[in-house]
């Protein structure tokens, strides 16, 4: 059988399954241990992101410089912790994600409440270096750690009635102070078509830069859909639902003329108020050209063969 090597994949020979399994356990464990260690820590209440090494290193090198970790963890759009770019880091330091569970429902054979461990542990964690393009015309290059969303969804055994997957962020204004103002109709909602969700590029991420996911970046578990604008990559997920109809998504609910369900990165379709032709890579002064599907055209363009991207923006 001929296996076509994908750009983002790592040769299997690089890591033995057994060591991978052990490393994976280490990652999950170390994430859990932080909570315990903190009981003796003078900074108790905070949840530092934690260095780990239980994942397969990525061999696919984007020919672009990785964004400074300090920048990627201090310049965030995460309205649950405030609308300023530096608010999420400031306001999420006391956020705790212990005993995180995810509600799975809708058209699937294995609905129920899944612990974060149960969801991630059966799968090989890998590092993926992806571009992240925000709808506000800035971008980053981030080394994520996670598992393909398809691996996780497959264990839930979606039925043929499942046409879309709907995701929701935690809604808890006491823990997420940004939710005390109704800037967005909480909880934050996002969704993908089944084909998008099952695409091998689509990642469920639990860490970045070799560490567990920082709170301000969507701890403990978030989506990464690199060919779509950043707001599609929903953070701090508590619910996954398989549905028949196109689910409601937050930015589309607020401003339907400006943010579509698909929101694929597309330099040809401008935001009604600003251009999407160029972007500022964080760390640069001048702007660069934005790439179709954020540079992942080769991988994802065929998903949209039958779609008018100007109408379905």
């Amino acid at each position: 059988m001929i296996k076509i090597k994908k750009r983002w994949e790592i040769p299997e020979s690089e890591v033995t399954p057994e060591s991978l399994y052990r490393q994976r356990r280490e990652f999950i464990k170390s994430a859990g241990v932080v909570g315990g260690a903190l009981l003796l820590n003078p900074f108790a209440g905070a949840q530092a992101s934690y260095s780990v090494d239980g994942y397969q290193k990525n061999s696919m090198s984007l020919d672009e410089e990785i964004t400074a970790e300090e920048d990627a963890t201090s310049y965030n759009n995460f309205y649950e912790f405030g609308t300023g770019k530096d608010d999420p880091k400031k306001n999420s330091q006391r956020f705790r994600t212990d005993d995180w569970t995810i509600e799975v429902g809708g058209h699937c054979e294995k609905p129920g409440t899944y612990g974060l461990d149960d969801l991630i542990r059966p799968h090989a964690l890998e590092e993926r270096i992806y571009r992240l393009r925000c709808v506000e015309a800035w971008s980053m290059v981030i080394p994520w750690i996670g598992v393909p969303l398809s691996s996780i969804l497959n264990t839930m055994q979606p039925t043929s009635a499942a046409k879309y997957v709907a995701f929701r962020t935690l809604h808890d204004p006491a823990r997420m102070p940004g939710q005390q103002r109704s800037v967005v109709p909480w909880p934050y909602r996002e969704g993908l078509t089944m084909a998008e969700a099952m695409h091998p590029l689509t990642l469920v991420s639990v860490g970045m830069y070799g560490k567990t996911m920082p709170n301000q970046n969507g701890a403990p578990i978030r989506l990464v859909v690199p060919w779509k604008y950043g707001f599609k990559s929903i953070k701090s997920i508590v619910s996954i639902e398989f549905v028949e109809e196109e689910p409601k998504t937050s930015w589309n609910m607020i401003l339907p003329d400006e943010y579509g369900f698909y929101s694929n990165v597309n330099p040809e379709v401008d935001h009604p108020r600003w251009s999407q032709k160029k972007e500022r890579r964080i760390g640069d002064i001048f702007k660069r050209e934005t790439l179709m599907f954020n540079g992942y055209q080769e991988e994802v363009a065929d998903l949209y063969d039958d779609l008018d991207m100007k109408v379905n923006f």
């Binding site: 400074a68 609308t83 500022r280």
Partner: protein, 206 residues
């Protein structure tokens, strides 16, 4: 008494100059120190834009200050604040022209034509130029009555600037709304009953 002597003091103008330049100095300091955050261009753009608006509003607040306090010396600072507002708007424009458009005029004008919020901001910037150019004694003398009419443009500029700010908000209108409310008060002061609201007589009546 106290207020009047402060405003008329020989130190008043140097201190006012220093205060007007302070935001710029702090930004330069932060830039050299690498303290502008992950997106320094955006930070510089937002800061200079907001200081232009703040100084524009301060310029227009001097009239009401005079009425409320009964102290005419406020007006001595009007030209200075107005010119600093123009100075910060030039910085704001330059950052956008250089970093967003890489010195490309046709690229810049495409943005000016296609993006309403930029159309508004750019108009405000252009309209400020004749006001800045005529802000000296000889132009005031030469233009006579026309000078006053010309400088009424400042109200349109304030309106354009606030709309320029409001129109780029994604979802959180709080900050832009605060500016809009202050601008509305300043504009209403010129036309409505707010004008007759004299703080002094208000206090005296009690």
């Amino acid at each position: 008494m106290a207020l009047s002597s402060v405003l008329k003091s020989v130190w008043a103008r140097p201190v006012a100059h220093l205060l007007c330049l302070l935001p710029l100095l702090l930004l330069i300091w932060a830039a050299l120190d690498g303290q502008l955050g992950a997106n320094p261009v955006e930070k510089l753009s937002h800061e200079t834009g907001q200081w232009a608006l703040r100084l524009l509003m301060l310029t227009l607040a001097l009239g009401p200050f005079r009425q409320w306090t009964g102290e005419a010396s406020w007006i001595r600072f009007r030209r200075m604040f107005g010119l600093y507002a123009y100075f910060y708007s030039c910085c704001h424009f330059a950052i956008w022209f250089i970093a967003d458009h890489s010195f490309d005029l046709s690229d810049m004008f495409e943005d000016v034509i296609k993006r309403p919020y930029i159309t508004l901001g750019f108009s405000a910037f252009v309209l400020l130029l004749p006001l800045a150019l005529t802000s000296n004694q000889s132009m005031i003398r030469r233009l006579g009555r026309k000078w006053k009419t010309l400088h009424k443009l400042v109200y349109a500029i304030l309106l354009l600037t606030v709309l320029h700010f409001l129109w780029q908000v994604k979802a959180d209108y709080l900050e832009a709304s605060i500016y809009a409310i202050i601008a509305a008060v300043l504009l209403l002061h010129r036309v409505g009953p707010v004008r007759r609201l004299k703080l002094k007589s208000f206090i005296a009546a009690r």
